[in-house]
């Protein structure tokens, strides 16, 4: 990791068609600011695995409601609820 950037390999299909299984993602770690529409890396509230989702909205108090672009194949805030901002560990800068 350099300049706070990190490369991840995307697995699974919940962010299709934007991110395909096997794509590489350049991610800024500990982002200063997260906005609606950003694709973020966060810790799954259920098992601490890192997952990648899109921020659909930010609630009052700063909790993020995240969903997969491929809604029919995604488990996200619709099942585990909004996540606190501290759990957002990175923000997608570039997909490769």
């Amino acid at each position: 990791m350099a300049l706070g950037l990190k490369i991840f390999r995307v697995r699974d299909r919940s962010m299709e068609p934007f991110l395909m299984d096997g794509d590489f993602a350049l991610v800024r770690m500990n982002p200063k600011r997260v906005r609606k529409g950003d694709i973020v890396v966060l810790e799954d509230p259920r098992n601490s695995k890192k997952i990648i989702k899109r921020v659909e909205r930010i609630r009052e108090g700063g909790d993020c409601y995240v969903v997969g672009d491929n809604r029919q194949m995604s488990s996200d805030s619709r099942s585990f609820g909004p996540v606190p901002m501290e759990q957002i560990v990175g923000k997608l800068v570039l997909k490769i």
Partner: protein, 173 residues
């Protein structure tokens, strides 16, 4: 440098450096759902109703025959009850855990089918009228077809290899 080249370079790097993985994951804990069990349960309900009907025509007049008949009737009724409940359970799991709002939006009949399926399974416990069980099976089959459509998998209806000789939905794989 083209994206294609960048990607190939990263592929090679990944083999050496093993980038961390980030999951665009689809489900947790397992994502293992299948409408097959609900269909099997509906077939079992039909089979028990068929057997109950068959018993009526075969029951003898003697004490031993009557005991045998009563025993078999109780068994068949009990199994019918259990499998109607299994069918309800399976429908609840599909509806509660697998199907999402997007599925219900894409297939407007889905919610009503599940609702009817649950009601028909309850009704099948209360009756020996095979029409109720056949309606239950038909409803479960339609749910099975929607289930596979949501996964982009085609289905086929075939006569099941069960003594019920009614239809069953299989994914075309």
């Amino acid at each position: 440098m083209t994206w294609n080249l960048a990607n190939r370079l990263l592929e090679r790097l990944d083999k050496i450096a093993h980038f961390d993985e980030v999951y665009a994951h689809c489900d947790y804990p397992c994502g293992i759902y299948d409408p097959h069990t609900a269909q099997m349960a509906a077939h079992t309900v039909i089979r028990m109703m068929d057997l109950i009907k068959e018993m009526q025509s075969k029951k003898g007049g003697g004490d031993a025959e009557m005991l045998e008949y009563q025993h078999n009737l109780v068994r068949a009724t009990s199994i019918k009850e259990q499998h109607a409940e299994i069918c309800k359970h399976e429908l609840r799991v599909l509806w509660g855990d697998y199907f999402k709002k997007e599925h219900a939006d894409a297939y407007p009949k889905l919610n009503e089918l599940v609702f009817n399926g649950l009601k028909l399974a309850s009704k099948a416990k209360q009756t020996t009228d095979v029409k109720t069980a056949e309606e239950l099976l038909s409803t479960v089959e339609q749910i099975a077809e929607i289930f596979w459509k949501t996964k982009g998998v085609e289905t086929k209806r075939v006569t099941a290899f069960y003594p019920t000789k009614r239809e069953i939905v299989y994914p075309k794989v």
